[in-house]
């Protein structure tokens, strides 16, 4: 152990600890900009580039960056001496001297780390004038890059390459020209980007933001000719409250429904309904493949992979195109909902599909891309017209002057708002496969499942394995969240080393609760755990907790769809995948 003194406080730390970490131990908060630590994901990003975290070390001629300087025995540190504060101000002024001054109209206004830094340091004047970087705006279906706002912290690069192993972004050029960009400075749309949004989630400025659809939504709500339907993903209710100062993990389902009604949506429905539908289709597909496999069919592909997560779908289309026959063909709950709303529900309320506007509230940035995929539209009209994130919904509520805290709890509308506990847990890692297991068990064994909680499938470890006993038949299940972890499982399958029957994959760490569209958690995994707890709490409070027991789902099959996996289901609820890998030689 090493003994050091920070601002007069003695601290004892292990060898190798940085000054920044040591200070944190005694609640001394040194400001940082480029630094990022996501402890539970084992991610540490400290390029030591921004110099905002400099501190004074007794005996050292220069100020030292606390995020990369390791402690030595007897070190005496001052983190806020006049010299430090002056230097820090200078550093931030220099960063600001090459930063656009459009904070008032910037998407990150109010949530920007650089803005907060300038505010905290009381910067009122920029003493440095000079050339400013310019960069074209790059707009994709889900993410906007405005790299003139980039401060080169490179956090996005770490998320894209180390955590997600997507490899869409890299630092390019040098000196003043340096910027983070896709290969050959192509637009994001022409890169292997999956739109998982983890780069957006960690960007300290407005350089990376989601494409904002909220104005389109407001316009649709104001159009008297349109009937506007909204669906809300399970993870939204477990995080939306944070945008209004509530404790992480506060469940705000009822208030959210209330707010959506006040915003003027004609029908407030639940994506959880479609999650139950997903289980019917995906579960049926799983059992079909499993039964064939067990009866000796060598052709059948196992494991079956879940297909709810659009970031994950893009990932295998780009990186593992030779394996596109392994994932389930079931559409994601967002798209199943869109399809049922535009076909079945529009018919029920005698409305043309073009006059029915379907909006989704998602914890996700990739859902914006998913909704824009061509196969999910009819004559140019998308099944889901607009997808907005949890953060965008919070903006809509704020601009409508609602006092979120005092909103009454209301219930979803029927029938597409009725769901089971199985639909709710889709919002967390392990949830989809647990929901599938609850139904598949009963369908496979014909027996009643008394205990629906499969604790062995729950948790936060990046890769988890579990076995479930299907009345004497062992079913091996794998779970991965974060695309880097997914890649490991896929490599195993490719190498023939995998003996799983089913695998659940979510692109974002934590699953949808940690989605790129959620309130920013700044890498604090305690927040994710609290959101996860809220999801299980909602599940436990539901009267029905198995998807196939949802009476509204049963009716939908009886009146409209026929059998799970049947012809109509295939037409409306299933999809196909594409090889998106770039190849330079045509074979």
């Amino acid at each position: 152990m090493i003994k050091i003194t920070i601002n007069g406080k003695p601290v004892e730390v292990e060898k190798g600890t940085t000054i920044y970490q040591a200070a944190k131990k005694v609640n001394i908060n040194i400001p940082v900009l480029c630094y990022m630590e996501l402890e539970d994901m084992g991610v540490k990003h400290n390029p030591g580039g921004c110099r905002v975290c400099v501190v004074e070390v007794e005996g050292a001629a220069n100020l030292m960056p606390s995020c990369v300087t390791k402690c030595w025995d007897g070190m005496v540190v001052k983190t806020s001496s006049p010299r430090v504060l002056n230097a820090r101000k200078t550093v931030v002024e220099l960063i600001l001297s090459d930063h656009p001054f459009d904070c008032l109209v910037c998407a990150k206004n109010g949530t920007c780390d650089l803005q907060k830094m300038a505010q905290d340091l009381g910067i009122r004047e920029i003493h440095y004038q000079g050339e400013q970087s310019t960069y074209r705006e790059d707009t994709s279906p889900a993410i906007i890059r405005e790299m003139d706002k980039c401060i080169n912290c490179r956090r996005c690069e770490t998320m894209c390459n180390d955590v997600q192993t997507v490899g869409a972004l890299s630092g390019i050029n040098r000196g003043f020209e340096a910027v983070v960009a896709p290969a050959f400075e192509q637009n994001l749309e022409h890169s292997p980007c999956t739109y998982c949004g983890q780069c957006v989630a960690v960007c300290p400025t407005g350089a990376l933001t989601e494409v904002d659809h909220s104005n389109h939504v407001l316009r649709a709500l104001a159009d008297p000719k349109k009937k506007v339907v909204v669906q809300t993903a399970p993870a939204v209710r477990a995080a939306l409250g944070e945008e209004f100062g509530m404790e992480a993990g506060s469940l705000v389902t009822g208030k959210m429904v209330s707010a959506l009604r006040e915003l003027g949506f004609d029908y407030v429905f639940d994506t959880d309904f479609a999650a139950d539908l997903t289980i019917m289709e995906e579960g049926t597909e799983l059992l079909n493949r499993l039964n064939k496999h067990l009866s000796g069919d060598k052709e059948v592909k196992l494991p079956i992979l879940t297909s709810c997560c659009p970031g994950w779908v893009s990932f295998f289309e780009h990186h593992f195109p030779e394996m596109t026959d392994i994932p389930s063909t079931a559409r994601s709950p967002q798209q199943m909902f869109g399809s049922i709303a535009k076909n079945y529900f529009a018919e029920t309320i005698a409305t043309e599909r073009e006059d029915l506007v379907v909006v989704s509230i998602m914890p996700c940035v990739a859902k914006k891309y998913e909704r824009s995929r061509e196969e999910f539209s009819v004559n140019g009209d998308s099944d889901v017209n607009y997808s907005i994130t949890t953060r965008e919904l919070a903006h809509l509520i704020k601009q409508s002057n609602m006092d979120f805290h005092s909103l009454e709890d209301k219930n979803f509308d029927s029938p597409l708002g009725e769901s089971t506990g199985a639909g709710v847990i889709f919002g967390t890692t392990g949830g989809v496969i647990e929901a599938a297991t609850r139904s598949a068990y009963e369908m496979h064994t014909g027996k009643h499942l008394d205990k629906v909680d499969f604790e062995e499938l729950r948790g936060m470890e990046g890769i988890r394995e579990a076995s479930v006993d299907f009345d004497g038949q062992e079913i091996k299940i794998g779970i991965a969240h974060g695309l880097g972890n997914a890649r490991k499982l896929l490599e195993d399958i490719k190498a023939g080393k995998s003996d799983f029957h089913a695998i659940e994959i979510m692109a974002c760490p934590g699953g949808c609760i940690g989605g790129g569209g959620q309130p920013l958690h700044h890498g604090n995994s305690e927040i994710l755990k609290k959101r996860q707890k809220a999801i299980y709490q909602e599940d436990a409070g539901k009267k029905i907790r198995k998807s196939h027991e949802n009476p509204f789902i049963q009716n939908l099959y009886k009146d409209y769809l026929g059998e799970p996996g049947g012809e109509k289901s295939h037409e409306l609820l299933h999809t196909k995948y594409f090889d998106r890998k770039k190849r330079w030689i045509k074979k």
């Binding site: 390459n161 997507v166 490899g167 869409a168 972004l169 890299s170 630092g171 390019i172 050029n173 040098r174 960009a181 896709p182 290969a183 050959f184 400075e185 890169s191 292997p192 770039k582 330079w584 030689i585």
Partner: protein, 163 residues
């Protein structure tokens, strides 16, 4: 950095695979592999970088990042008579920049560019170890010492009739 569109043939892929294999397809050896690839092809167009990325198990973005960081790497083919002006300290203080400007003016090229007929290209380099001859210019393997802006015309004239 702009790139030239090129058509890739199977033998090009074979060559890159051979280079990558000689570095055990190890991502850590990316820079070495890029050097070897550029030595072979003369430059590193986007298509070649994509194949290097695949073979060296890194992303294309990463490869492009390395190529744009180091001035040694180029995405445009050099001219048949590549002109390199040393802008190292000794050459610089003895007027290398005025020599460089004169080449740029006469050939109507910027640094890093290649003339349309593929004959000339202009690049800067840092110190060739002949500081006594500063400012130094190289055309291909041939070295010219104590070059003045007035002498640029004569150097170019030497290559005017060549193919």
């Amino acid at each position: 950095m702009s790139s030239v569109k090129v058509e890739i043939h199977q033998e090009d892929v074979d060559k890159i695979q051979e280079i990558a294999k000689s570095y055990n397809n190890d991502p850590e050896a990316l820079i070495n592999a890029l050097h070897a690839t550029q030595d072979h092809f003369g430059y590193l167009p986007a298509e070649i970088q994509e194949i290097v990325a695949e073979e060296m198990n890194v992303s294309s973005a990463k490869v492009y990042g390395v190529v744009t960081f180091y001035s040694y790497f180029t995405m445009t083919p050099k001219g048949r008579y590549p002109i390199s002006i040393c802008t190292g300290t000794a050459c610089y203080v003895r007027g290398a920049e005025t020599v460089l400007d004169e080449f740029k003016r006469q050939l109507e090229l910027e640094v890093g560019e290649t003339s349309e007929n593929g004959k000339y290209s202009i690049n800067c380099l840092r110190c060739v170890g002949a500081c006594g001859l500063a400012p130094v210019v190289m055309v291909g393997d041939k070295t010219y010492g104590r070059v003045s802006p007035d002498g640029v015309k004569d150097i170019i004239a030497e290559y005017e009739d060549a193919e």
